[in-house]
Symmetry: C2
Subunit: 293 residues, 2 copies
């Protein structure tokens, strides 16, 4: 902020919250081609600074996570659910490793959703999602989610189109109910470029130790890039709500992706501001009994 | 090894595997008072060396974990189950945080067993255990386990004594079946001293941020220390089998406990020696298709 009145010291404007920077605006059409997947819209702008900033966030996240868990032991129902979506190789798995890694694994409930099983297909699509939700005090992480049911299901026509339409509303109502029950839903779209996906798939091919991660089917999915992009645009457009907005994280640079998601988590946990619950016992009396034991 | 024939250089005997040092001998009575909970029976003998050695093990564990997971994508059913048992404050939760922390959280299936729910009590005691088992490629961690059903259940007489007796055999047959199905079962008893438990409970009392971890009921359980010790001795004695031996880890020093369990995990994963599976696709052809996309 540059002040015109000369005499006063320039004051630096406070940095906007990252969630205000990355949140997809509600009620507007989404055009993913308008977003640069290599951008660094806030925070560190080079790799060294990004890695250092992310490392700094680790202990702060772990501290807040412990408070959240501690609060749950005294009846606080609040919990957080991180939903990760993005094209193949956009870094959903890498996010779990690098962003969730510094947290206490006991308090994380991680679920990677694959193609639904026969039993899952026989239930409403949200059935398997409900069963994987975090409990009070936990941080849940979904690597893919119920959004697959309006993404691959739409592009690959796994269910009739007339059954896709109602799902957006079902998702919004479901997420609203979660919010009402104390779940902070943080939905992250990992925005990857078509070129970067090619580079990442080639890297997997070029390293025999990565062949297990490669599936020739990925090349066929890639051919449907425009259809997937459109399906994402529709989902982001229809399912960015006040209760559960979508955040778009540029994902071509892994260090930026890790920093941004760590920071988003931190901001949401800080907003919850969980506190250690006081004991409901007589400390002096317990102390005396222990010393006598 | 000191050779008597003078001329030759002294050769250092290879260090014995930690699992051979800590394994509870099968077919012998177990007397826990004979084990020193502050001992460092192998490996580092001071805290600085212990912390450094444990930090070194982290990346090696993470590397083997990735291979184990990768192998499962090609049909390898093998997986590992770490069972943690020990008195209150013996460090089961701390082990998950510090030993499992360096692993990729996606590949860990962690379950803390509390008092069984009504539904769980209506099933055989192994029912809830079965449902929490790791899948191929995963590392499962049990913070408490089916052993509670012969420990607190025995001491507190939660079920009639005549129903406790058969459980040891049931456990052994269950663990044998797991081993036959490709599960490496690593059972760790965290051996804590009566004095160290008092010190740790006092620490919780003296720090308001730790009050949520304190339960006055812990003092009543502590009064039953000899009964719990005896229940552990019986469980360790009857359930140390060739397929699933018990390891006794001295737990009064947290740094030693973390090192020892990390090392035990490493030895078991190295013995599995999982390998990255080769791709079953034509690399050159995939490469060409990708470059053209």
């Amino acid at each position: 902020m540059t002040k015109k009145d000369g005499g006063k010291k320039e004051r630096k404007a406070p940095e906007p919250a990252l969630r205000d920077v990355l949140r997809i605006p509600a009620g507007e059409p989404v055009d993913l081609t308008a977003y640069d997947a290599r951008a660094t819209p806030a925070g560190p702008t080079d790799k060294a600074a990004g890695l250092a900033a992310t490392a700094d966030l680790g202990p702060r996240l772990a501290g807040l996570q412990e408070r959240l868990y501690a609060a749950s032991t005294a009846g606080d129902r609040r919990r957080l659910l991180l939903v990760l979506q993005g094209m193949d190789t956009s870094g959903k798995g890498g996010t779990v490793k690098h962003v969730i890694g510094p947290l206490n694994p006991s308090g994380c409930r991680i679920r990677a959703f694959k193609a639904p099983t026969r039993e899952e297909r026989n239930h409403p699509f949200l059935w398997r999602i409900m069963r994987a939700l975090p409990q009070p005090g936990e941080i849940g992480i979904f690597d893919r989610s119920h959004y697959e049911d309006v993404l691959i299901a739409r592009v690959r026509e796994l269910v009739p189109r007339r059954r896709i339409g109602p799902r957006y509303g079902q998702i919004n109502r479901f997420e609203k109910s979660l919010a009402e029950d104390g779940v902070t839903v943080v939905k992250v779209f990992l925005h990857l470029s078509y070129e970067e996906q090619r580079a990442r798939l080639l890297q997997r091919l070029d390293n025999p130790d990565k062949h297990w991660k490669f599936d020739p089917g990925d090349i066929e999915e890639r051919a449907l890039w425009p259809e997937y992009r459109r399906a994402y645009e529709i989902a982001l457009e229809r399912c960015t709500t006040a209760e559960a907005p979508w955040y778009l994280v540029p994902a071509d640079r892994k260090w930026y992706r890790n920093w941004a998601i760590s920071k988003l988590l931190l901001e949401h946990l800080e907003a919850l501001d969980p506190t250690y619950p006081p004991g409901d016992f007589d400390v002096a009396e317990c102390r005396a009994r222990l010393l006598a034991s």
